[in-house]
Symmetry: C2
Subunit: 332 residues, 2 copies
């Protein structure tokens, strides 16, 4: 099935580029409330499921044992921009578990924040702490330490940490995570492809706790609370996830993933959202997510205006001249 | 008409993302040799037509009057990476016309070369010279000076410089560049949408000179020679345009444009190529262009292997682990 065009990129009065995609909104009972495009095709969720991957960190007692703060729990759910306070937070998280950056297996890249990258370039080079996934990896390491097992190789599919993460993902999404649908993520941990309906169902359950064990529901609530309290730690300055959660607080949890994936929960409505832009474009996935939030969540006029800025961003060139805009189509 | 999927992005054994697009190969007489997807839809060529936009710089006598070198002419056709020798070359080009960077209206951005950007960040900030279009703008300014007219506002559609550029584009492509299809490019000059067949025809004529006035054919040959001699100045270290032209010399001229556009000429065959990836992805446009070059141009085994690396790039994560690949589909 061909996915419909969901986002058009305008330059002047003409459509310059087009993004196709699929989106699912599902409630806690697994009932699909909205389906656009092929919502049954397996999609690698990539970093969009980091909040779900962090559940065992709480459930195991590791977060309590090491006294993790909301900032540190938000970092465990984050694709952060590598700004100084992100990096310091991850280092602190690791230190609480008696480890340091040498234990991280996520690889090294420059901060995605241009300002942070250029500031860092003046005096040094990035480390694995600057990798956008370092908080998640620090959480995995913390979990391994609390389990009393060797943390080396914590990123491999057969390591007890990843088995625990996989079990949580299966419980939440109801998807069978088969080897045939497993690939290696950008930070080397496994990523399992599953339909958008399963992803959205998982986020619906994560957002409200229904259909989960009391322990797991409590863990989800704690992670949601941490992200709502400290949204800057989930992404960074000016980023979509941070700005949307800062604006709407605990009424929404949103998490971006690579290659045009976006997941979210609307806890007060018991709904979960999963989006995949076919071509992997983050700009389109953000616009789609903004439109879906505005469609389902009751918003004040002021909130509506703020969310609409993400749904229909204006495009400007290097001289600040308005050259076009993104527009979500009627297919959504 | 729906464009077909031309490039698949694989992760593990599954398709993670998909890029649709259109491509046209046209000969100097305007006969379409290959058409995939909707090759009649208007496409903003963006920076892909920079070599054509540089024709008046030669034809006017400006290049001779100011003694422009091959490096400087290649920069006038370039989307450069902002590496030190690019920036120095553009400054030199401007100085030959008695101007400096304060005359540039392209706007400022950091070098697209990460190494150049971080090196620059240690000691300073970027200027308009670092803008990837600064060489083209320097050429426009040089043209204005040689025409003996006020260079201020050289980027506006009604300025004689842009009128000369527009006339050259119309002559080469045979397209009528109407106001309804005009938009503002990233560097503020006009960009006119036209069908891929017209773009490909324009590059076929540019590549061989047939169908052009002797003056214009000579100008095209000089620009082709400059790009073939100094391909590093057309893009930069490790970039597709630079590497392909370094590999194949004067047998190919390729030029990338924003939003998934790619144009090229195969002079010895008299063919022009124009590609547009629907969603604007450069990674897909490069793979498509590499496949088309390998299909039409007779290559040695060694050249074939080198071009294939661009047609089917391997994707690695931050730890260097192979996680997937790009694959051009049978639709091309």
């Amino acid at each position: 099935m061909d996915d419909p065009i969901l986002v058009e990129v305008l330059r002047g009065g003409l459509v310059e580029s087009r993004h196709r995609g699929a989106a699912a909104v599902v409630n806690g009972e697994g009932v699909t409330v909205l389906a656009v495009g092929d919502v049954g095709r397996p999609v690698f969720p990539r970093s969009a499921v980091k909040p779900l991957q962090a559940l065992p960190l709480i459930e195991s007692g590791a977060a309590d044992r090491y006294g993790l703060s909301d900032e540190e729990l938000a970092l465990a759910c984050a694709s952060h921009s590598g700004e100084p306070a992100h990096v310091e937070g991850v280092a602190r998280l690791l230190a609480k578990a008696g480890l340091d950056e040498s234990a991280l297996a996520c690889g090294t890249h420059w901060p995605s924040s241009q300002a942070a990258a250029f500031a860092l370039a003046k005096s040094g080079l990035p480390s694995a702490l600057h990798n956008n996934c370092s908080g998640k990896h620090a959480g995995f390491l913390c979990l391994a330490r609390a389990m009393g097992i060797d943390h080396v190789g914590y990123w491999r599919p057969e390591h007890p940490v990843q088995l625990a993460v996989r079990a949580a993902l299966e419980d939440l999404t109801g998807a069978t995570l088969s080897q045939a649908r497993c690939a290696v993520d950008g930070c080397s941990v496994p990523t399992w492809a599953m339909p958008l309906t399963n992803l959205a169902h998982g986020f619906a359950k994560f957002g409200r706790g229904r259909g989960l064990s009391p322990l797991r529901a409590d863990a989800a609530a704690r992670l949601r609370g941490a992200c709502a309290q400290k949204p800057w730690y989930v992404a960074g300055t000016g980023r979509f996830c941070t700005e949307i959660m800062r604006l709407l607080g605990a009424r929404v949890l949103v998490k971006t993933g690579a290659e045009g994936v976006f997941c979210g929960a609307l806890p007060e409505l018991g709904l979960g959202i999963a989006v995949k832009c076919d071509d992997g474009a983050g700009r389109a996935a953000e616009a789609i997510m903004a439109v879906l939030i505005a469609r389902f969540l009751p918003l004040s006029d002021q909130e509506h205006v703020a969310v609409a800025r993400f749904a229909q961003p204006t495009l400007r060139n290097w001289s600040g001249i308005e050259v076009g805009a993104l527009r979500v189509t009627g297919a959504l």
